[in-house]
Subunit: 506 residues, 2 copies
């Protein structure tokens, strides 16, 4: 078969595989937003069927033959060197997806899926009843399945690296530890320092904020950030998320809580950051496997950049507080940026990751990284996990949860076997600040732009510098290409230390 | 292969085929309700891919072999006579779906789909510009494709019957004409009689009714009718519809117009009638091809029964007017049932089918039936259609549209090649009143139940008598089984003549 024709066929297989993924995303989005209560059971059957069809099509022998026909192998995934760079990147990504899928035996996949279902159900009960022992046998199985999966993929020597590679291609546990260790030390030190300072007053934010007005403000905010409502939507779900239902159909969700007005606002900004990445991918990779974020961590760098670096900055609220006040004139009658800015940046170590402030957040992640690394290497016995959790929590954050429900049982990830996922959350902070440093040097007057509500130059820079690559470059190379530098915790730490010195006094 | 095993395999193929249909329904529902504007293009690619997969799976040689293995052939679709009745009905329906799909050559299906796309686009322009000549060449092609389709299915002698059979299995054009002819005559006569009577005052319903309150009333109404919101939803779309996203996920839509409060109310009741049918199908056929209405017309009998026979009755508003008034106290301050009942049953022949009153509605359908029958037989030249339309409109309804946009170009159906669909709308009226006559004799005091807002006995009767059959019986047999009688226009005419004599004076 001619070169061109083979490539065309692979593009068709890939495009259809993406269409199926997006059809699945429609069904899942609907499940989280509008599905009637009793429709859940049949929906899961529909999802399982479509997932099976998608898997079957991607792993057909034809895909393998076409890839080989272009010289793409496990060792040389990019294929023939005469191919244009874009096509080589395409082959590399498709080969990766294909190998990932075919290397797992069907029996293993079904057994893992069944075990995962039971594990999640057990975790729900364990958390509800604060009884780790109910979850323990399932955790042991999930660790085994995860390790086995990494082995199937060829990571017998370092299975945890194989799992990290799912979420953060090209990053290993050693490289992560090298940045997480100084990060943990300096954040812990900062936390201790802040604990000795007077606590800013945030009581005016704990009043009741009417839900309908919260929703109106979130829609207004999205518009001001430049979210294109012809190519996306904002809806409400129990847990905020972003999902891709089409190249021109990127949906985000948020939630509104009457006495936690900040929760809905920052969830909206966070998810908008994810959405901008997807909406601003270049046309040349539209609909292909390259039309995706570089990694979970790079994606998170965007959401956290918008949420924290921009969204929790003083210039941002110099522009936006009058807007927010127009929706809540009574509650915010007297609030100035000088009150508002410290109140939304309150630092208060707590047990729960998803409620953590900007200083504590990465510490929650480091804790999980260190523990799951030991679990996968076998140096930590899963039965000892609750005790290890409490002691590391004390060490890093200075607090100790009273119950396992507030501690080791708080996150869903391990119950799903998703080991290796957590580090991306904190890597996002680090990538984000490296990007931001470069953006600020390329784009002087960033703070003024933010205060004026003129986000276009920032979005353009992110698009032309980062999003333009889609999934073509692995995180280390993307970072190097964009900033000229390697991964480091310095820019993030410099930003955090300076910001919170400003708020809490030197 | 063992008998039992073959049957199980067919049930799996069927169940998966239904899951795919419902996944498609999710994507289409989303397109009509929440899809961002620019997402339409990629959504149509997702739909085309899933439709292709669904078709490919249903028409796999395996399906044909399994059907034959149980003795199911085109001539004897129910298969082996030793099989239980339910399984024979299942085989019959699956065989019908399978044959329908495999008898059409792939080239023909793609050519027809392409032509249909062009035809619909031309129709949109023709209607906008009131220029039938733009649509004419496409109409000619749509007639050819429809006729050819019927020939592929084995209806070379009477292609129009073959098309009617899609929507109304077991009903032919002669049988329909036999009931439509007296129906047309007596409805036309009634219309003329009503035209000479004073027009009831409906001006109080033309005020502005706040949209949010309309939505609240519709939700309240659904609750009172017994619509189970754990198994369905109400949303808003440009054209109201009902769709099945799962056995426990039946969704309806309506629309709210500020100066046409009745539009949203009756669309809600109409679609609820469709939804009740689907929600109350028996558990034994859940998820199979038998879990469906008996025909388009039988489905329409339910929507029109709830909308008109129940929803536009005096007892209904004796109970419901105080509820409606509580949402619109100012506009309905003085309205009594004696004002409201004639106002919602105003008879006024117009050009547009979808806005027609209960007396005119069937006449619009008869007009289309007679014209499309002639188009398919070749006795009417498509170029003559606009003139034929106007003259038949004058004859049946006593009015003549000024433009083709308000006449022959008003409906989308023919532009999609959906000849044979229209009769179901009026057959629904006839089936509905035959069922209703039987229901009233089985369930004395129906009017009292309706006035009290106690709809449960009515829904139970419909469920136990009609819905219990799902798609197992073709309409003539279902009618016979439920009422002991054949199709007739008498019960409908008796109902209409008596109701409107009451409103307009003898």
């Amino acid at each position: 078969m001619a070169f061109r024709e083979t490539l065309e066929k692979l593009h068709t297989i890939d495009r259809e595989s993406r269409h199926l993924e997006k059809a699945l995303a429609v069904l899942r989005w609907d499940q989280e937003t509008y599905l009637p209560e009793k429709g859940v059971e049949e929906r899961s059957e529909q999802l399982a069927l479509l997932e099976g069809i998608a898997h079957e099509r991607l792993t057909s022998p034809e895909t393998g033959q076409l890839l080989s026909g272009l010289g793409s192998t496990r060792e040389n995934p990019g294929g023939d060197e005469k191919l244009p760079a874009l096509e080589r990147d395409f082959l590399k990504t498709l080969r990766r997806n294909y190998d990932r899928a075919i290397l797992l035996p069907g029996d293993f996949v079904s057994a893992a899926a069944r075990a995962e279902g039971l594990s999640q159900a057990a975790w729900v009960n364990a958390r509800r009843d604060n009884d780790f022992s109910v979850f323990l046998p399932h955790l042991v199985k999930m660790i085994d399945f995860a390790r086995q999966k990494a082995v199937y993929w060829g990571w017998q020597d370092n299975p945890y690296d194989g799992l990290l590679d799912i979420y953060e291609p090209g990053m290993g546990a050693d490289a992560i530890a090298a940045v997480f260790t100084p990060l943990g030390q300096r954040l812990s030190a900062l936390l201790r320092k802040i604990a000795s300072k007077p606590r800013p007053d945030n009581s005016f934010l704990l009043a009741e904020f009417e839900l309908e007005n919260q929703a109106c403000f979130s829609r207004d905010l999205l518009k001001r950030l430049g979210f294109d409502s012809q190519r996306g939507r904002l809806d409400v779900s129990a847990h905020p998320f972003t999902t891709i239902l089409g190249s021109d159909d990127v949906r985000i969700t948020t939630r509104y809580l009457p006495r936690q007005v900040l929760s809905g606002i920052f969830a909206t900004i966070h998810e908008a950051g994810h959405a901008f990445y997807e909406m601003d991918l270049p046309a040349e990779i539209r609909g292909s496997c390259l039309a995706d974020g570089a990694s979970m961590g790079i994606h998170e760098s965007q959401s956290r950049l918008w949420e924290n670096v921009i969204g929790r900055s003083k210039p941002f609220w110099e522009g936006m507080l009058p807007v927010l006040r127009s929706y809540f004139p009574a509650a915010l009658f007297q609030a100035t940026t000088d009150d508002f800015y410290p109140a939304i940046n309150l630092v208060e170590p707590s047990f729960i990751r998803v409620e953590a402030d900007e200083v504590s957040y990465s510490l929650h992640v480091i804790l999980r990284f260190e523990l799951e690394r030991e679990l996968l290497s076998g140096s930590l016995n899963p039965a000892e996990l609750p005790a290890a959790w409490r002691s590391k929590m004390k060490e890093l954050l200075g607090v100790e949860p009273e119950t396992d429900s507030q501690g080791v049982l708080q996150d869903v990830h391990w119950s799903m076997g998703a080991f290796g996922y957590f580090p991306s959350y904190a890597l996002g902070n680090l990538y984000g600040l490296e990007f931001w440093q470069k953006l600020k040097s390329d784009l002087p007057g960033t703070e003024t732009l933010i205060a004026e509500g003129n986000f276009t130059p920032i979005r353009d820079w992110l698009r032309d510098t980062i999003y333009v690559w889609g999934r073509r470059l692995e995180p280390p190379l993307l970072l190097k290409t964009v900033t000229g530098k390697a991964l480091s915790s310095e820019p993030f730490l410099a930003y955090i230390e300076s910001k919170y010195a400003g708020i809490y006094g030197a």
